[in-house]
Every structure is written in structure tokens, then in C-alpha cells.
């Protein structure tokens, strides 16, 4: 996270009881919940496809990565469509958010590197943690998450069936 620019403009959203911040520049749009097509045998992280203005876009669930509970969508659920680099290739993907808060500037001075210990999650998936309103905001490393999780194959049911 850029210390030299002074602040990071970010979209904040809630996943379960944690607040996440995503670089606002990578966000394309925020959608209300749309019908999700389940992709059989796909990893749970990207188990769905959605239609974004005539485009077929994979839908990811960061809650899978951060070992969170995954309750059914409710009236606050939104889909954040963003551009993320997967193995160096820009890709459009959607992520589920339990609630989208706002766009805000996070003072770079308040962003710290993710602690290597004492964190519930794999440190490689977190670029930084920022202190805000007495709580913490997690800045996920989306590019890393998508590159690692996307290539993980679910146990293939095909061989079992064949």
C-alpha cells in the first residue's frame, strides 16, 4: 500500500464481522444480488457465474478464503465487480459482500503490514491492516488470493463417476 501518496482510496465492505478495504480504483461497479449460476466441481471460492451486462463473470466468495461462515444472502448482500490480476492477466470478477459500506480515504500512515503471527488468516492473503474508528480494516491481497485459489481444483467428481 502506497505510503508515498499519503492515502489509499478504498471501498469498505463487510464480510461477516470483519471490515475489508478494497482499492477503489479496481472496483468497476456494485450490483444488487443477481441470479448466480452454480458451476459444478468448481472450487468453493469461485463456485458461481453471474451475468454482468452481457458478460459472464466469475463470482468469488472471499469468506471461503478467510474461513468464515457463509450464511444465505440477505437484503444487504451486494456483488462488487472488480478487475483483478490473475497470474498477471487482468480479469473481471465479482466478489460477494455481506454489506458494502462506503468509499473512504485510508491514511497510509495508519496502514501496517499484516502481522506474521497472531492472525487468524494466512498472512500472504493480507496486504495490510489499518486502524480505523477504533477497529481494524483488512486490506486483502486480491491478486494473490485469486491466483492461488483459482488454480486450486476441487476433488474431481468426474473420475468417481466414470
Amino acid at each position: 500500500m502506497s505510503n508515498e501518496t499519503g492515502a489509499m482510496r478504498a471501498l469498505t465492505l463487510r464480510l461477516q464481522d470483519e471490515i475489508f478495504a478494497i482499492e477503489a480504483g479496481s472496483v468497476r461497479e456494485i450490483l444488487d444480488l443477481v441470479p448466480i449460476t452454480e458451476v459444478p466441481n468448481a472450487p468453493a471460492f469461485v463456485g458461481g457465474l453471474i451475468n454482468v451486462r452481457g458478460r459472464v463473470v466469475p463470482l468469488a466468495d472471499l469468506r471461503v478464503v478467510f474461513d468464515m461462515a457463509r450464511p444465505e444472502p440477505d437484503q444487504d448482500t451486494r456483488i462488487v465487480v472488480l478487475e483483478v490480476e490473475i497470474d498477471g492477466e487482468p480479469t473481471i470478477a465479482g466478489i460477494l459482500a455481506d454489506k458494502v459500506h462506503d468509499v473512504t480515504d485510508i491514511d497510509a500512515a495508519l496502514i501496517q503490514e499484516a502481522p506474521r503471527v497472531g492472525m487468524r488468516w494466512r498472512p500472504e492473503f493480507v496486504s495490510g491492516v489499518a486502524r480505523r474508528d477504533g477497529g481494524f480494516v483488512i486490506i486483502p491481497n486480491l491478486s494473490r488470493i485469486f491466483s492461488v485459489q483459482g488454480s486450486r481444483t476441487a476433488p474431481s467428481a468426474e473420475e468417481r463417476a466414470a
Partner: protein, 681 residues
Amino acid sequence: MSLPDPTETFRQEARELLDQLESGLLDLERNPSNADLINSTFRALHTIKGSGAMFGFTEVASFVHEFETTFDRVRKGLSPATPDLIAIALDAKDHVHTLIETPQAAGSEGESILQRLRALVSGKATPAVMAEPAPEAVAPTATPPATGKRWRLRFTLPKDALLYGTNPLLLLEEIRAIGPCEITVLTDRIPPLDDLDPETTYLAWQVDLTADDPAAAIDDVFLFLRDGMDLSLVPLTEESTVAEPANVADPLPASADSVADVSPPMAKRRGKAEAQQLTGVAEKSTSSSLRVPAERLDELMDRVGELVIAQARLTQIAAQSSDGNLKTIAEELERLSSGLRDTTMGIRMVPIGTLFSRFRRLVHDLSRDLDKQIEFVTTGEETELDKTMIEKLADPLVHLIRNSVDHGLEPAASRVAAGKPPTGTVRLSAVYAGAEVAISVAADGAGLDAARIRAKAEENGIIAHDAKLTDQELYQLIFAPGFSTAKEITALSGRGVGMDVVKRTIDGLRGTIDLRTKPGEGTTLTLRLPLTLAIIDGMLVRVGDGRYTIPLAAVEECVELPAEAISTSRGRNFLDIRGALVPFVRLRDIFNTPSEPDQYQKVVIVSSGDGRVGLVVDQIIGNNQTVIKQLSKLHTQLKAFSGATILGDGTVALILDTVHLVGMGQAYEDKFKAETTGRAA
């Protein structure tokens, strides 16, 4: 609208002309006295020369000029078109190709090719012709030199020309040396005094020049300035109508005598002919074809895709409505959009013959280099495939043909000993097969040698010494990385591209490779490629809560799953379709569908190549137009799906990959057979 880069346009045209030249030469080899062929070859040469000079490819122009001069003797019947001559002419053609595509890589082989060519054609007739094109040497007896042609040259120097030490006066001096001229300075770009930068060049010049062929000389003058400057050279129009043969601009003069007009005087009037020739080429391409950047076609395809999706929604809404007018319009629009879809896709389709014709040269060279007599037969040239796919197929096919000839065909002596005709045959064919195109390369050679493949694979550590493999499995090893059976690596094969690369390319196109071989009779390799069209007709089915699309062209028939098949679901998964056993797979098993199956299960029989498989679904919903959207990188590892599409209600449906599913069915069938025979034994 941006103007295309003229140099690129020339390159494209030259590529086509060189192809034309090559196929002309190859035809000529079989048919050496055909005047039409000789003339068409000559015309291609001539056009390359003309437009080459026009676009500043002077080296190309002068080389081709020499080439043409020599070839002219053939055209006049003074030298026969012997195989040797054709071989050198082909080398010359390759050299021109190098000069055009990668001029920096071209060495000095040009002169040696010309030497050989000259020596072969005449020896003495054109000894004076050296590197500098000397038009007088072409045909000394023809019409007297047409001197005193007038040209208008206009040029602007780069803005910073003065800064870099260019002296315009010296340039003008040099131009003056080319021929008598009238120089006018164009001052219209000089800014008001306040804005004038004394170090910038604002002047432009117009020179009316009288010279025979000033293009090359002018190029020399501006040699170091060409990058930043504008320069145009046009013949002064009032004269260009006089002595021009009427049919120069005619793109395809059919009769031999009309061509005879064109040539020797043309060589003299080269400069002017260039301009004429160029318009001729331009007219030709506008009348028969139009060059469009591929991205624009992609864009068009995307738009049509969106239209089809919107139309599907309209149809769905109309179906629920009782408004007769709405229904009529929806139907009308459906008809129109499906017509538009077909037309748009047709634009992208290219007959595979364009690719096949390239291989004639390959086989010709192979035949010469390996000293094997080869007959090359192609069929199905009219079969159309998406342009991008055709481009990607070129390298794999080159490799397959090379392998078939190099490793497959035996030397003539062994062929005769085996009771076969001494000339080997390589057949290249393309044919539509359902949702696929099958392209096969068949050579009537010795066939694959399973024992040798086995030995080689063991040696290279691809398989263990005691591995039990069927012959068919052994044959498949030729596609393994690091495998090469050629006893000695020839210059032709073993160039680093192995069969594994071929396999990977074909996999990348979602195609498959079938291999059939019979010892002593030959080997056939068949590539099966999906007609990857952006939009296909699909059959929509439901499995559990999910809806999936099956490419309609792959669907053979739909039947109800017999009750006994349901009860014995753990046993043999085969259906009896009119006496033939067809394996079936339950999509709900493959997809881990949790819900209860419908009471009456349906089976959609799909085929790919010779294989068939039944796909058990809960419901067949109907036909739809399917706009194929590629899956993202996140889902490409899922082999069961070839893409996704958007349905009329806006939801996404996955498209089933029939080739993969048929493969699964076949694997199941093989396993089952192996088990039953194993049990019997």
C-alpha cells in the same frame, strides 16, 4: 477511421502475390509449357516489383526486377521451365519474402540466386545485368527509351532537420543532378514572425522533374531523412495517358497477347507503371475482397452476440404476452438476428484451402531434400474454419506432414520391394463432422512400428521396461514430451517442435488427435476441431436446478432412459440404441447434484468423431441460440465445460464440452470391456 500503414498494406499484398507466385511455380513444374501459368507467374512478379518500388522497398524491387528479367526468357519461350529453374525460382521467391518481411535478416544470397538463375536460363543473354537495374539491358530491341517523363516531387523536411545539420540547398542540388527541373518553394507553413523559431524548418518544396525513373535516385537523396519527412512523387498527369498500354490496370488480363503488351515496354516505363499498377491492385482488392482488421470483426461479433441475447429476452417476454403484434415482431426479430448471426460468422470463416496450398511447397521441398517421390493430394479445401483457428493450425499441420513424409513414407526402393508403387501418397483432407471439422493427414507409408516406439520410450524413460501397454497406447506415446523415434535426426524433423507441441496446440484449440496406423499400409492422423464459432445452436437441458447447453450439432438423438437402466444404475451403464451399445453418463453424478432426480430421465446422445455417449439429464428444455462466452482463467480447469452463455432470462448457463464427455464415455467403455474380458479370462 485511421489510415492503414501503407507499408503494411504492401506487405499484405506482397504476401498474397508471393503465394500466388509460389503456387504458379509449382503448377508450372508439372505443366512446364502452359503459357497461362507462365504469364500469371510473370504478372505476380511484376506487381511485386512495381508496388515494392512504390513503397520504398527498393532492394525488393531491384531483385525482383532481375528475377523478372531472367524469367522473361521463359515467358518468351527461349528457355524451358525445367525443375531446376523452378527450384531456383522458389529460392528467389523465398528471398523476396525475406527481403519484405525481415529486410535486416536478408543476407547477400540474392546475388548468388540471381547468378544461378541467369546461368541456368541463358548463360550469355543477360551478362551485363548486374545489381543496378539497367532497363536498357532488358530488351535492347524493344521500343526506344521513353525519356523526358515529367514528375512532380513534393517534400517537407523534418522540423528539426536544420538542427541536425541538413542543408536543404545541397539536397536541391542533388535533385537537380537527377534531371532538368523546376523548383518552387512552398512557404504557406511559415508562421507569423512572433511564433517563428529560427531553428525550425517551415519550408516545403515542389520540384517538377524531367527524368526517366527518378524514384531510386530521389530515395538516395533523402536516405538519412526519410523518417521524419513527407515526400510524394507522382507522374505529372497530362502525360500519363499517352503511351500507357490500355490493359495495365486490368487486374486479370486473361489472354496471353494482352500480357505481351505489358511486359518489355513496361520495364522501361517502370516508374509510371508503378503508379498504374498500384491502382490496378487497389481496384482488384476492392472489387473482390475488403481488408478489415480482425478486431473490428470481433467487435461486430460481440455486438451480434448482445443482440441475440436481447432478442432471446424479447422472445421470452413475447411468449408470455397475449399481444399478437409483440409476438409478430419478436418472431421477425428472431429471424433477422439469426440471419445476421450467420452472416457475421460467415465473414470470419476462411476456406481451409488457403492453408492447404501452403503445404504444396512444403511437400515439394521435402520430396527434393529426402529424394522421395511424393504425390500430394488435398481434398475438402472448401471446408471453412474460423480464421484464427486456421492460423493456429498452420504449424501443427506442417509438422504432421513433415513427419508423415520423413518418418512415414519409405524410400522408393523399399516401397517397390513391399509391392507398393514407388511414389508415396500423402493425403490432406478436411471434412465437416457434426460440430467439428476433421482434418486428416494420411500417408501410405510403413505405418507406426510399435516395437520401435516401445524401445524408444523405454530408452527415454517415458515408460518403465515392464509396462504393459496395448499397441494403441504405445502409439499415443509419440505425443509424449521428449519422444522422437527417428533413428537419425534429420534436418527436417527434430527441429525442436515435437509431436507433443502439436498435441498441446490442438488441445489448446479444444480439439483432439486420432491416430490410426496399419503396419505396411500407412498412418492417418486426424485432427478434430470444434467449429469454434462465437454463436451456435444449442439444446438447453436441465440437471437438478442447473441449466446447461449442449451444442446442437453434436446431438444425435434424444431418448427416454429405460426403466431397467435406472434400476441397474450400479451395473453396466449402456443403452441399446438400435442394436449398438452406447455408454451413458449421468450428468447429475458428474455434477454432484444433490436434489432428487426427475421421475423420467432423458438421455441426449451426443457424438464426437466415431464416439458416442448418452448424457442423462432431468429435462430437455428446448433449442436456443447460444452465444459462447469463454470461461475465465478461474474455471478453465473444468474440462466438462467449453464455455458459458447467457439465457433469455439473463441467467448464465454452462455449455457442455461434448468432446470431453464423449471421451469420458469411451474411457468408461474401455474400462468396462477390460473388466469383462479380464473376468472371462
